[in-house]
Assembly symmetry: C2
DNA sequence: CGCGATCTTGAGGCAATTCAAAACTAGTGG
DNA sequence: CCACTAGTTTTGAATTGCCTCAAGATCGCG
């Protein structure tokens, strides 16, 4: 068995809590919406956003809090999660720069889930009212937001489908492919999932236990489908994983 | 044991495949969006919709078909579902008059799921392009659509949460409460879920088998929490069900 | 009244969980 | 540079909740 080197995941060591003005504009411009807005309008929109920094483990907001702002992640990694009465956690989404989250509906509603920083992050926040005002002024933008929401809803339905019908291996395979699509970078070990990712996180995303996640991952590695270590996973044979999802899902 | 009468569910025996012009306007007006639109504009919007009728068991569209239209259910009951490679079905949503479904994102994408009529239904269909044109002309409406989508996304996240963490009983209890909230009418048997609803449907919504659904339902009845028969369920003690969801979820 | 579909019930099996302990890894400070 | 430590990962054995398979009971309809 070849000796495995330590984590190939490159952690961003940028100044924690702040992002440059240039980055702000770049992030906003790169959003699925705001693509068609004129430069001067974007500058005005940018002015409505407030910058907020968080350290790993810190919560941007908790479920139940009055949902007053919409966030855009500018730098780092975060996650959306829910807590079970039994203390278990369910991870609903992993957020990367460019992802938006928080209060999506009208003002006054509570946040349905919690958001936690996984690395040092910089988030841009806008009040729901301001955001809706912007959408009113840029109707084309609203349609793009709608598309983004439709895509999310579909992803959620994918998850429901898998949780309802698929066994542990297929669920893990699916999440690995999904993460690779979002965070995958080519690497000598394979398609590396570029974020610290432990067995526990995997378990929380697939509705299984840490132990089962470990067993499944070990099996995948024995099969030669993945390469893995502490807090990282790289995919060697995506076709095999896709096949598994197709058959068992 | 009190003798149980036959199904208290009132099935709508209207003319299957058509709905009156008056009903069309009433349905459109009652949508979560189109609330603020002027009467004459609504008439114009109405003109863009086409009417389509379907019989029980018929599919409005299949997953994978090119998603060209958005539908609004005007009369009857339908469901959104996905098929598993193993032949199992996963019911994602139960649709009632006023619900919209179909192509939510941009044109060109395939339908992510299938829609099936459960009773004789009348659906109003609009092309995606026309719908987006309408939203462009009525920016306030787009925001309301956004709200509706946000609510759906949240409901999907609820489902993920439950499927990930809760045992069979809690899942069933949750779906019963959800259905009662949407379709519940007071009745001498309790809060009746006003739609034909079998054990199999329950199973497909909660990711369990028909047999397990039956066992759980039987237990709930023994506990005095529900009243049930062939293809119908009425809730007697919603508080107990909510408690169960809170503890086990 | 009898047929088809739905619902119930039981027994055995299996996948995943729980409980528990050992092996490993990446930092830490001596 | 190495031993130490805290957190992560692996592995094992026992348990269990749900599924599978298989009848039988019940209901509604023609």
């Amino acid at each position: 068995m070849a000796k495995r080197r330590k984590s190939p995941v490159e952690i961003e060591t940028t100044e924690p809590h702040m992002c440059s003005p240039a980055l702000r504009l770049k992030i906003l411009r790169g959003l699925p919406f705001f693509r068609t807005v004129a430069d001067e309008d974007l500058a005005a929109i940018n002015a409505r956003f407030r910058e907020q920094g968080f350290s790993p483990g810190e919560f941007i907001y908790h479920s139940g809090d009055p949902g007053e702002r919409l966030y855009v992640l500018a730098e780092g990694r975060a996650r959306l999660l829910r807590l079970t009465s039994g203390g278990k956690q369910v991870m609903l989404d992993l957020l990367i720069p460019g992802d938006f989250f928080g209060a999506l509906g009208q003002a006054g509603t509570a946040y349905p889930d919690s958001a936690e920083a996984l690395t040092p992050i910089c988030a841009l926040a806008i009040s729901v009212d301001d955001f809706r005002e912007v959408l009113r002024q840029h109707p084309a933008t609203a349609l793009d937001v709608l598309d983004a929401m439709a895509a999310r809803l579909q992803a959620a339905h994918d998850a429901i489908h898998l949780l309802s019908a698929a066994p542990a291996e297929a669920r893990v395979a699916h999440i690995l492919l999904k993460l690779a699509g979002k965070l995958g970078v080519q690497d000598e070990a394979g398609l590396l999932i570029q974020t610290p990712l432990g067995r526990e996180a995997l378990a929380e995303m697939t509705g299984i236990t840490t132990e089962t996640a470990s067993r499944v991952i070990s099996q995948f590695q024995r099969d030669g489908w993945i390469e893995t270590g502490r807090q990282w996973i790289a995919l060697r044979d995506t076709a095999a994983l896709e096949e598994l999802v197709a058959v068992e899902g």
